[in-house]
């Protein structure tokens, strides 16, 4: 399957934190084509295993990209059949107004989070953002019917289709972080042409958006020699200081700082230069705000690094990424994996 098609089907699928099973099933199937075996763990992480070459003790590398997306959860069905909701993960309430959503009840139901028409709104109200507690979903159904089909606790996603914009840019919901899952897939494809000693655990993690939970438990179970997280970072856009963003289409952003093992960082940048893969630097003194933060301190500590794909409009339903960045990141990751041997892993404890 082409990486772009994989990404398209992933982002259009549903997988709100804690309810990832639909997108998880799809990813499992596709990973099955490039891995030796695929399994799930207690928190629903999808773990694809690809064995390395060689008989001696093989180093293990875990790749993590989270498959969960932010979304909403129903808190109450009112007497008129309108649905009250809360967020799952960091949702900007301003991005919800005048949206079509899908309520995943007994069936998938289309609903609208509407806004009072301008004609009926007082001038002073038009300047204010509406708090989430004052928003509601309209299913266009009578209350009894709603109660049959929807329950408190059901999740909701924005109804969005994958779009191809100019210059290799694509847009949809859930690019954070399924674009990274696509990078891992691209990497596994590239590895078919390369020789690698290391065993690879390609993990599509769950519940990153609510506390890096999937990564914490999956890393504990795998206890890899090296952990690489893939996530999105902020793509350059107007109104945001340049030093907080990375340019689109110029390759992955490689993080540096306390969350990153300096030798793994060095190896990534060395290979990027060697193979002419463009990249930008992301100096991050403390937490990277990604699965990596959890992975690094599992058990007795894991050497870790982060590759990020620039994305504009993060945590909206029109997140954009560049397919060029996806491909470049996947390739760099593959070269990195191919370069790892037992000696390199030994050296990671030498400070």
């Amino acid at each position: 399957m082409q990486t772009k098609e994989f990404l398209k089907q992933m982002v259009e699928a549903t997988g709100v934190s804690g309810s990832e099973c639909r997108v998880a099933d799809f990813i499992s199937r596709v990973y099955g084509e490039v891995c030796d075996e695929v399994r799930s763990d207690v928190l629903g992480n999808v773990i694809g295993f690809k064995q390395g070459a060689g008989d001696t003790k093989r180093p293990t590398i875990m790749l993590a990209g989270h498959m969960d997306e932010i979304g909403l959860m129903i808190t109450k069905i009112d007497d008129k059949g309108f649905l009250k909701f809360t967020q799952v993960g960091g949702v900007d309430q301003r991005t919800l107004v005048a949206q079509e959503v899908v309520v995943h009840g007994r069936e998938d139901l289309i609903g609208i989070i509407g806004l009072k028409p301008p004609h009926l709104m007082a001038p002073e109200d038009r300047g204010k953002a509406i708090p989430m507690r004052d928003l509601q979903i309209d299913l266009g159904l009578p209350a009894e019917k709603v109660r049959e089909l929807v329950s408190v606790g059901d999740v909701v996603t924005v109804n969005r289709s994958f779009m191809e914009l100019g210059s290799d840019i694509v847009a949809c919901k859930a690019m954070d972080d399924r674009a990274a899952v696509a990078v891992i897939y691209e990497c596994l494809q590239e590895l078919k042409k390369l020789h690698h000693t290391a065993d690879i655990y390609a993990v599509a993690t769950t519940q990153e958006e609510v506390g890096l939970r999937g990564a914490t438990v999956s890393t504990y179970g795998i206890n890899p020699d090296i952990g690489i997280a893939l996530d999105v970072c902020h793509g350059a856009m107007p109104g945001v200081p340049e030093e907080d963003t990375a340019p689109m289409g110029k390759g992955p952003s490689i993080a540096f700082g306390a969350n990153i093992h300096p030798k793994v960082f060095e190896q990534l940048t060395k290979l990027a230069k060697e193979y002419n893969i463009p990249y930008t630097l992301d100096p991050t003194p403390a937490g990277t705000g990604t699965d990596l933060w959890a992975m690094q301190v599992v058990r007795a500590g894991i050497p870790t690094a982060l590759l990020s794909i620039p994305s504009r409009y993060m945590h909206t339903s029109v997140e954009t990424v560049s397919m060029t960045d996806v491909k470049l990141s996947g390739r760099l990751l593959a070269y990195f994996i191919a370069s790892i041997d037992a000696a390199f892993v030994e050296g990671l404890l030498c400070y």
Partner: protein
């Protein structure tokens, strides 16, 4: 003098090499077994045949800065590493990278400011470091993005048995731990010089996981605000009041039996001591406490005025008393004290 060497060492969170080197050198005749891990913790092992496994921890890292970008005028912008109040940054000399390139965090001269500007805090994002470069290219010949930065503070002794310097939080703790490790004990002792405490208590948990201690003592540098204009109940600790024992902070509840024993030993041996008077703040004890199936912990801290700023003040008597108290506690474990 070890405290001086440690205080002046270069070691913001994530870049603790120099501190690690100093400590290994200091302890080379006393420690034959060192444990290393993926985060860079330095663990001195003093194994023994029997007895409870005791972990004593002090963190090597200090708060500092990291170069985030270089502008076209050759001025360096930076991130903060650890919790630093923006107001302590203005008008300070700094040193960049292992090569210690000197720079200054300047501010507009007073003559050029409007009156109302002088009451505004300058956010760190509006500050920059000047290394005397005239262009981006010239700057990048000497420094690079991602370089760490420390305050250019020299250690000095002053006043009544006091010392000034940077990074007493927690190089004072490291100095004490190094001294403790020079003696021998009848139980297995693990001296953990941890990393990355200031950016989220990162090193201590993985060290504890590997060591699997039965109990742990954390040596810290702690807040001390016993200055004019502050209400007595907000001092936190008092300089010269002796080692500060923490009942509870946001990271851990101190083990009561351990606290009682420390108090008993202090009183029986005429060592001044105090209790930490605030419940805010956290330290490595928080991660050690909940490691695996749980570890009883207590934190013993040296009061440091002006913590997390370019220059702090501590009492050398407090350092000596803290060392003496913890040493007595370790001997008490030898004598049979158990939690």
């Amino acid at each position: 003098m070890l405290l001086k060497k440690l205080s002046e060492a270069f070691g913001p969170s994530g870049c603790e090499q120099e501190v690690r080197t100093i400590l290994r050198e200091e302890l080379k005749d006393h420690i034959s077994e060192w444990q290393r891990d993926a985060l860079g913790n330095l663990i001195a092992c003093k194994p023994a045949a029997a007895g409870p496994r005791v972990m004593v921890a002090a963190h090597m890292d200090e708060v500092g800065l990291m170069i985030s970008s270089v502008d076209s005028a050759g001025l360096l912008h930076f991130h903060k590493v650890g919790g630093i109040d923006d107001r302590v940054l203005v008008s300070k000399p700094v040193l960049i990278g292992k090569g210690r390139v000197p720079g200054v965090i300047g501010a507009k001269a007073i003559h050029l400011q409007r009156p109302e500007e002088r009451t505004q805090v300058i956010p760190h994002r509006s500050l920059f470091i000047d290394i005397g470069a005239k262009s981006k290219e010239e700057a990048l010949e000497k420094v690079k993005i991602g370089d760490y930065v420390i305050f250019a503070t020299q250690y000095g002794e002053l006043g009544a048995s006091m010392a000034k310097g940077k990074a007493f939080d927690d190089r004072a703790g490291c100095a004490i731990l190094a001294e403790l490790l020079k003696e021998d004990y009848s139980f297995p002792l693990y001296g953990a010089f941890t990393v990355q405490e200031e950016v989220g208590l990162r090193g201590a948990g993985v060290a504890a996981y590997a060591i699997e201690p039965d109990l742990a003592i954390v040596l810290e540098g702690t807040t001390c605000n016993d200055v004019s204009g502050i209400e007595e109940h907000e001092y936190s600790t008092v300089i010269g009041g002796g080692p500060a024992i923490t009942f509870m902070d946001t990271s851990a509840v101190g083990n009561k039996a351990m606290i009682r024993e420390l108090v008993r030993l202090a009183e029986a041996n005429g060592i001044p001591y105090q209790f930490k008077g605030t419940v805010t703040g956290g330290n490595d004890a928080g991660r050690i406490n909940i490691s695996r199936a749980g570890v009883p912990v207590v934190a013993v801290s040296i009061p440091c005025r002006y913590i997390h700023s370019p220059v702090s003040l501590l009492s050398l008597a407090d350092v000596e008393h803290s060392k003496a108290l913890v040493k007595l506690f370790l001997r008490s474990i030898e004598g049979g004290f158990r939690v």
